[in-house]
């Protein structure tokens, strides 16, 4: 059961997530993710100034003020390291501290000397109030999201070039300055419209987390944008629904926790870059490498491996890091054990011979041609045989073989 009010919030937060996800990907690709945090903080003085000048909490006044100081902050962060010797990271942190401090100082002036009753709500920009989103705010967010989405589609190749290699872009006559400016402008607008909903600090979360999540799933620019926008929208929707179940929970932080959950899941399970996949591949390679060494060691150094050999000697001789590879050899039936002594089984001998001949062929092959891919050098005997046999037979159809 969704109330009309919740529907407005739902539309607002999902389009906001979409918009932040898109803009955030550009920041991530420029390795400036924390810029979002600095810019979000630098809206505060603008909000208070807008309030002090307009004398009311009109949406446009606060928004215009916020946009102004955010742009000023963006310009300073990018110019300071060029003007003099300041590290980019320090420039970001300094602008954040100074602008936010100024905002707090102004806020405190406004609260102490200004029209007290009217200024009371300004605090809410620090943490945001997504649940109290007005129709007007949701509409603004939707319009901005449509514009941002359209610009991304229209300009995606220019933006991609500016993120990846802006020198090349300049060389081919694209005006990178305009693109950079546009990206900064989009970022600032996105941050400003998300303030009433999620507040200063959590805006940074919406801009940073979805692209970081998307990065685990893809290596392509357009896919990154799409996935990031999707993650943003999804966390907006799920966060709003979750917090509408328990009214005492603030919507903004719940949205952030939802996207953090998506992030954590991606971190673990994403097939190529996820931790589990990586770890498994690493263990498998290491174990196979060590198993190969053990088999070859037993076969070459110890009279074809027919003799029982002490376990310690095998580990020392084959330079295996621990005994897990040895255990794996036993489990696979390549090595048999009698007490603390081990020897190759007939199966193991065959395997070792196969390894040795594959290795020999492989070295010869490497000698004949040497532009080596890193993924290529450390192969199992199966891979080597498959690869070299294919080479000699010149059959290009891989799919059939690999099954």
């Amino acid at each position: 059961m969704i109330l009309p009010n919740t529907l407005i919030v739902l539309i607002g937060t999902s389009t906001l997530g979409f918009c932040c996800g898109l803009v955030g990907s550009l920041l991530l690709l420029r390795k400036r993710a924390l810029l979002a945090d600095a810019l979000a903080h630098s809206t505060l003085p603008g909000i208070v100034l807008g309030f002090l000048i307009a004398g009311s909490q009109a949406y446009w006044a606060l928004g215009a003020g916020a946009l102004l100081t955010t742009l000023l902050g963006a310009v300073l962060v990018s110019r300071l390291p060029i003007l003099t010797r300041i590290r980019p990271d320090s420039a970001t942190a300094s602008i954040l501290g100074i602008f936010f401090g100024t905002g707090i100082a102004l806020l405190s002036i406004a609260q102490r000397s200004g029209p007290g009753a009217y200024s009371a709500g300004l605090d809410h920009f620090l943490l945001g109030q997504a649940a109290g989103m007005l129709q007007q705010e949701a509409l603004t967010i939707t319009i901005v999201a449509v514009i941002v989405g359209a610009l991304m589609i229209l300009l995606h190749k220019e933006i991609m070039v500016s993120c990846f290699d802006s020198t090349f872009g300049k060389g081919t006559g694209m005006s990178m300055g305009v693109i950079d400016l546009l990206v900064m402008l989009l970022l600032s607008i996105t941050i400003v419209i998300s303030l009433p909903a999620v507040g200063v600090v959590l805006t940074a979360a919406l801009v940073v987390i979805p692209p970081a999540t998307a990065r685990f799933w893809t290596d392509r620019f357009t896919h990154l944008l799409a996935i990031s926008a999707l993650v943003g929208a999804l966390s907006g929707i799920s966060g709003t629904l979750l917090s509408s179940q328990r009214l005492d929970l603030p919507t903004g932080p719940v949205i952030v926790l939802c996207s953090a959950t998506l992030f954590a899941v991606s971190l673990i399970v994403a097939p190529h870059k996820g931790l589990v996949g990586r770890r498994l591949r690493w263990i498998r390679r290491k174990q196979r490498r060590e198993m190969q060494r053990i088999l070859i060691f037993l076969h070459e150094n110890l009279q074809g491996g027919n003799e029982f050999v002490a376990r310690e000697r095998i580990i020392a001789g084959s330079l295996a890091a621990d005994s897990s590879a040895l255990r794996f050899c036993i489990l696979s039936g390549f090595v048999e054990q009698a007490g603390t002594h081990l020897r190759l089984t007939p199966k193991g001998i065959a395997r070792a011979e196969r390894s040795i001949s594959a290795r020999k062929r492989w070295t010869e092959w490497l000698d004949s041609a040497a532009e080596i891919d890193r993924n290529l050098i450390d192969l199992d005997e199966e891979d080597i045989e498959r690869l070299l046999d294919r080479r000699s037979m010149e059959i290009p159809d891989m799919e059939r073989d690999s099954k």
């Binding site: 690493w282 390679r285 290491k286 490498r289 041609a369 040497a370 050098i377 192969l379 690869l387 799919e399």
Partner: protein, 263 residues
């Protein structure tokens, strides 16, 4: 000359799944000026950091003057690649060189006049004494290299490792660095240098180590630096192997991701 300075046995080094060095077996004699040569990504810098003892190999071992490389701290000096240094760091030339004395100074003690004088002496040895109070970012590329060589001298290192000292320096600087290298050699120090310029190898170095993930060849320059070995290092049949690499990648992705990665 007969003594072995660095002995590497059966070394395999891997970051995650990807091996960076594979099955390296080599000895570098004492007092040699040795170039490490190979294509990009051949593991040259990784080999240096393994000798330095900052990376732990997956298999095999390295001994420096018969001591395992993890324990041979005082013996090895390192001149980093230009890009890996923070040139904006608030530090002056003499301070950089004095860092070389920190190890022997031990914890808690502050460097004194003795260390200062020694650092100045080392700085003078590379002809940079006049620049002692410049911030390091203000020096030219060749001068920066010399400062780091001076730091290795201050360490009193018997072995000096350099990561591409000749990259991006002009001809005059190259000459200066070369003469510093000649001094190091006269001093019976062993110098191992990652080098890119194949034209100058025969002039500069008496020992080469051809590397391409695995060891292709190593030994005295005249006998090792041959056309045949270079071909083996840099490769002739590029297209064939690219095709092979693609084949393996497809096999791998087909196996790990099911049908999705197949095509």
């Amino acid at each position: 000359m007969n003594q072995t300075a660095i002995e590497i046995h059966d070394l395999t080094m891997a970051y995650r799944e990807k091996p960076v060095l594979w099955d390296i077996d080599v000895e570098i004699p004492k007092g040699s000026l040795c170039a490490v040569v190979g294509p990009n990504g051949a593991g040259k810098s990784t080999l240096l950091s393994c000798i330095l003892g900052t990376h732990k190999p997956a298999n095999g071992w390295i001994k420096v003057f018969d001591v395992p490389s993890e324990q041979s701290d005082e013996l090895i000096g390192f001149v980093p690649q230009r890009e890996s240094v923070d040139w904006d760091f608030p530090i002056q030339v003499l301070d950089v060189v004095m860092m070389g004395t920190y190890r022997r100074l031990g914890w808690f003690r502050w460097p004194g006049k003795a260390q200062r004088d020694w650092a100045l002496e080392c700085l003078a040895a590379v002809g940079m004494a006049d620049y002692r109070s410049r911030q390091i970012g203000e020096l030219s590329g060749g001068q920066q290299q010399r400062v780091f060589i001076a730091r290795a001298l201050a360490q009193d290192a018997k072995i000096i490792l350099m990561d591409e000292p000749f990259a991006g320096v002009d001809a005059a600087t190259e000459d200066t660095i070369r003469s510093v290298l000649a001094d190091l050699k006269n001093d019976e120090r062993t110098v191992v240098i990652v080098h890119h310029d194949l034209q100058t190898i025969e002039d500069y170095f008496d020992h080469v180590l051809l590397l391409n993930l695995r060891l292709v060849a190593a030994g005295p320059t005249e006998s090792t630096f041959t056309r045949e070995n270079l071909l083996r290092t840099y490769g002739g049949q590029l297209t064939l192997l690219d095709e092979a690499a693609e084949a393996v990648r497809r096999i791998r992705s087909g196996r790990s991701m099911g049908k999705a990665g197949g095509k």
